[in-house]
């Protein structure tokens, strides 16, 4: 913190706070949860079968979006979507990715709770572009 002589208050400059934020991010990047997530994300991005499965699912979702918004999918269309969803989530690399993401999320939530309690603001809500954004 920099003492800028503001009466008795010791003020931390923006650059000091940013450095502390970067140190915080570096410490987070060194945790087993982040490393596992990073590895799982890399494996997922480079797994051909998983990438084909997600593309097929996204293409189907896109083509059916107007009907989905109207909640007007036929049973056949619903089954097609479920099959593509299962084909995607049953990939081992995808399961590992989701599992690593869940562990990292748990850690980030604990950190967010600690930050929110200390600063008197909900960290996630304050940083979101809008409500639930």
């Amino acid at each position: 913190m920099n003492n800028q002589g503001n009466e008795d208050i010791e003020i931390a400059s923006t650059s000091i706070v940013k450095q502390a934020a970067r140190d915080f991010a570096t410490a987070l990047a060194e945790t087993p949860q982040f490393k596992a997530f990073d590895l799982a994300a890399y494996a997922f991005r480079n797994d051909q079968a998983a990438q084909q499965a997600i593309q097929a699912l996204q293409q189907k979702q896109q083509s059916l979006r107007p009907l989905m918004q109207l909640n007007a999918l036929s049973n056949i269309q619903r089954e097609e979507l479920q099959e593509l969803q299962s084909a995607f989530t049953s990939q081992p690399v995808v399961q590992e990715y989701f599992s690593a993401q869940a562990e990292l999320t748990k850690l980030c939530q604990a950190l967010g709770d600690e930050l929110s309690e200390a600063i008197g603001l909900n960290y996630a809500a304050a940083c979101a572009a809008s409500c639930c954004g």
């Binding site: 934020a21 570096t26 945790t31 980030c108 939530q109 967010g112 930050l115 996630a124």
Partner: protein, 125 residues
């Protein structure tokens, strides 16, 4: 189950929090919050405004809202906006949120994902 932070992570978190709290925006925000908490006029005005908004919503739902009631609410809103303590708090809150987003961007650049959205608990915001 509670997540236990490793010592390095805990130390970095503590330093980050201390610096955030010692930043100009956070000092001003917490000072304006204390002023607001101890200002009975501002508190009374905010309570009146909150009550008027609740009443208005109820009347809107059963279509019994009158022009006079809308005008009364507008008067209260103007009074709140013109109250130095309330507007000081609102401005300080806006500034601190802007600052926090800037700091969060710094974290995101290093991690490669939006840290704030990973901290979100389920449910709205």
């Amino acid at each position: 189950m509670e997540t236990i932070l490793c010592p390095t992570m805990q130390e970095a978190t503590n330093v980050f929090i201390s610096n955030l709290l010692a930043s100009e925006d956070f000092i001003r925000y917490h000072q304006s919050q204390t002023l607001l908490d101890h200002d009975s006029t501002a508190q009374a005005l905010l309570n009146q405004l909150s009550q008027a908004q609740t009443d208005l919503r109820k009347k809107q739902a059963d279509s019994s809202l009158s022009r006079d009631e809308i005008d009364s609410l507008r008067v209260l809103q103007t009074q709140a906006q013109e109250n130095d303590v309330i507007s000081g708090y609102a401005n300080a809150q806006q500034d601190v949120i802007k600052f926090l987003r800037e700091i969060n961007d710094e974290i995101n650049q290093l991690l490669g994902f939006d840290f704030a959205s990973f901290t979100k608990r389920s449910g709205c915001c």
